[in-house]
């Protein structure tokens, strides 16, 4: 059977069509009238999560700063006393090690901060994990990736939706 080899025109047409197909839904989606949208969980965010990790002043020896802000979906009000669990592969241990996990509570302005050991690349990327898994809001797992693997800080924000 004779099948013509794809020409440049075919390839360009196909590429153009897929760009349109991928981009259009994003462009025509109506603006959200409800205000601040909730943060969706990230892929792989819940990997090696440990339910009930204790609230700690610092994970291990510290030296790396994980920070962020927690707000309510819709009106964007800062949420105080929200428990955020943090874990990562660091210079002091693997993601799975219980000692690599710790939780902290947000302040009145919704911000949180954890002193933890330096994150190092693991499974191909330098990344951290954060979880909100309280009862009042829907569970969210984040997995932010560091742009600079030598950086000593990483941040991730939560917008939570009431459960």
């Amino acid at each position: 059977m004779f099948r013509p080899a794809p020409t440049r025109r075919h390839l360009l047409t196909a590429a153009g069509a897929s760009v349109l197909a991928a981009g259009l839904p994003g462009l025509v989606r109506p603006a959200r009238a409800a205000g601040l949208a909730p943060t969706p969980s990230m892929r792989g965010g819940s990997n090696n999560y440990r339910p009930g990790a204790p609230v700690v002043a610092r994970i291990g020896g510290g030296g790396f700063r994980m920070s962020g802000r927690v707000r309510r979906a819709g009106d964007g009000a800062p949420l105080e006393g929200i428990r955020i669990q943090i874990w990562a592969h660091t210079t002091e241990g693997h993601e799975r090690d219980p000692a690599s996990h710790g939780a902290t509570l947000t302040r009145a302005d919704g911000s949180f901060e954890m002193d933890m050991p330096q994150i190092v690349p693991a499974f191909g990327q330098p990344h951290g994990h954060l979880a909100y898994d309280g009862g009042a809001f829907r569970t969210v797992f984040l997995r932010p990736v560091m742009r600079d693997r030598d950086a000593a800080a990483l941040s991730a924000d939560f917008v939570l939706q009431p459960a």
Partner: protein
């Protein structure tokens, strides 16, 4: 002639071993357990073998008879399959949820998709090689194509991973793997074109395309 043979094999040995040696000197080594390190190094060894295999398949290395090259290629294939098994197994033991995500194509990182794609392509190439004679297939065409596609996937996988490999040696090794694979496919195509078309009905199974 002997000098050429020595240079070719010495160069190949350096291309295969240097990236691995440099990886063992990575600062990340100190923060990884033995199982994780084994899994990582097995992946690098597998990438190196993807350079050796096409060179043996087309008998490009001097000083080898076609038969020796074929036998070495078979042995290389078995070691490659073992290395890939160690890579996947080592990472699985290190972090099961990350590997489950990867194998289900649900991982957050793009390199993971490429790695799993390469894994399945390579598995298909190995199975095809093992069963080719039993299945009565004379053509090596699909084995080469699958293996070269697996090599392509592995290159993208390796280049996107931030891991033990030293970046310059990694890039050079990937370029070598790409060149060896592309060279193999080109030579296979050229050797097919040179051969006169078989008369209709000739050959045991009336296959229109011969190897």
């Amino acid at each position: 002639m002997r000098l050429r043979t020595g240079l070719a094999w010495g160069g190949l040995a350096a291309a295969l071993c240097l990236p691995l040696a440099l990886a063992t000197a990575s600062p990340l080594m100190q923060w990884r357990g033995p199982v994780y390190v084994t899994g990582c190094l097995a992946g690098i060894a597998a990438l190196s073998l993807l350079l050796l295999q096409p060179l043996l398949a087309s008998n490009r290395m001097p000083g080898l008879s076609p038969r020796q090259a074929r036998r070495l290629h078979r042995l290389g294939g078995a070691v490659l399959a073992g290395a890939v098994g160690l890579h996947v197994g080592g990472l699985w033991i290190t972090s099961p949820p990350d590997m489950i995500d990867a194998l289900l194509f649900a991982a957050p990182a793009a390199f993971s998709l490429w790695g799993v794609l390469a894994f399945w392509l390579l598995a298909a190439a190995v199975i095809l090689a093992a069963l080719r004679h039993r299945a009565g297939l004379r053509s090596r065409r699909w084995h080469s194509r699958l293996a070269c596609a697996a090599a392509g996937g592995s290159i993208v996988h390796a280049m996107l991973v931030q891991g033990l490999m030293e970046p310059v040696s990694k890039t050079l090794l990937c370029l070598c793997v790409a060149a060896a694979g592309a060279g193999l496919l080109r030579r296979r195509r050229a050797s097919r074109a040179e051969r006169p078309p078989a008369p209709e009905g000739a050959g045991p199974r009336r296959r229109r395309r011969e190897p």
